[in-house]
Amino acid sequence: MSERLPLLEVVDLKQHFKITKKYTTKAVDGVSFKIYSGETYGLVGESGSGKSTTGRSIIRLYQPTSGTVIFDGVDISKKLNGEQESNLRKNMQMIFQDPMACLNPRKKVSEIIAQGLRINKICKDEKEVMEKVGNILEKVGLSKEHATRFPHQFSGGQRQRIGIARALVMNPKLVIADEAISALDVSIQAQVINLMKDIQQELGTTYLFIAHDLSMVKYISDRIGVMHLGHIVETGTTDEIFKNPIHPYTKSLLSAIPHPNPKVEKGRIAITYDKKAMGVDYTLGINHQVSDTHFVLATQEEYVNWK
């Protein structure tokens, strides 16, 4: 495991937003993790925990306050030259949450998907562009004929497929999926998750999967990072997080997952997690190693208590 080179390495990433002269929101406050080639890393947490901000900082939608992001051996958190920039844009793509809002309603599907190809001049001629668009549409379960339509002519699930096609047409190494399925129906969510898995198997794409729904994350992720208030409080393989959670926040998240079983669900009471009442301060915690891949953010005393 340790010999594998990480595709993406985030070291002590901080993203602060200055609201007023006196007040700064620390959306992401020192996050470090690694994603290896070909795996899926799930980032979960409640809204406001900074998981989307992390994703957006990585893809350079924000200028990080401090910390480094190393992608494919290049530090991408500082100013880049033209070649590095275009290289990054080709190899890192994003799928957004709301399939209604992220597609330009005035453009045809073919134009939306081909935009990246044209800007980066990847194809020799127009024929090759359209060939690529047709292939990727078929890969995501749509047909070539859909290319001449406009986004409003599609249902929510189909639009999300177009979003996925747009990200994958560049053949990127890393795809950041920011709540890519939360706006969809349950039956369609399953279709999209299965599609993303199939594509990963075929093309070896790496995913950073950001979501708040732990039960869906379980199906796609190899490793999971649990975020709360700008810190990753626990990280480990999917099995470790689900079978042996240590941090009380992870436990409360797991206990909040609804079970589709009336017998259990009627009596279930979610564990509450009150950071203040427990006196937990994330800035004091250090990463404790539970196993090879399993880490918990805690002070020495907390770690002993929780374990």
Partner: protein
Amino acid sequence: MSEKKDTKDRVLSIRDLNISFETSSGIVNAIRGVRLDLFKGETIAIVGESGSGKSVTVKAIMGILSGNGKIDSGSIIYNYHDNKGNECSADLVKMSNKDIRYNFCGKKIAMVFQDPMTSLDPTMTIGKQIMEPMIEHLKLSKQQAKEKTLQMLELVGIDQIDKRFKQYPHQLSGGMRQRVVIAIALSCDPEILICDEPTTALDVTIQAKILELIKDIQVKKNISVIYITHDLGVVAKVADYVAVMYAGVIVEKGNINEIFYEPRHPYTWGLLSSMPQIDTDSTRLFAIAGSPANLLEKVIGDAFAPRNPYALKIDFKQEPPLFDVGGQHRVKSWLCHPNAPVCDMPIDLRRRIDKMLEKEV
């Protein structure tokens, strides 16, 4: 069973409701003959994917259908007690929207919407927003309304009520906002509370708390609740009775155990199978193939047939009636016809249900 049913107070009964919408691309038959009963103190959940017509059904009850919507036929009988305590009944279909709004909306029937940010007025303090319906419907004085508002805020579990009373919606978190919306809905002591995806916009941790809150209040005030959701986990937690909707019709209904442990309709099988499970090692999710029915086209036979691996030939020709399969359980599928070939639920689902039944509480 039927005798037992009659002893309960029937609050709302929907019969053969048909609703259509006129759109630029043609007439959409969103609701095609819905029949549903709501009893006093009971919780009913309407489940289905988006576009199945679950929201449209309750909007018809509230008289808030959008302008291009039209109720073609059917009736919604609402039995209520007037101010003097007399039993009355009214057909909401025959009333004008204005009359419904004046007599029932907010007063007798209240609704909690999906997104608390868009259903609250950002320019008014939350105290004022909770007071408004009480002053309007119950003709309370400002002082009385304020006292009751503070009680409501306490009831829905908001702390520092005096401070919160003067705050604006943007100063509250999503969960707190939804609590305020619930307080507004309950302020006039309604008999029916309709919750349209009350927790979809919220985090799982908050979701459980809001559901527990609604349940708690329901027991305290003995009101009837209609839930609309596509999340079967929510249904399992709150509902007594479940109606599964697909393409504008109820395809299966029954009490919670009948639906979760003995589902009979292939669509319900699909829904239950596609729920993610925590305690499984399988890495693949079941997905219902295809996409939802397009109601712009005339539906011939069973609307679910094109996505249904168990479809019979007759499914493509004739619409199945609602079969009574015992208890309160009704299924709209030809598979329940006595002459249909025996067809069991998928083996994976059978195993899953057996596993669920084995679980100790």
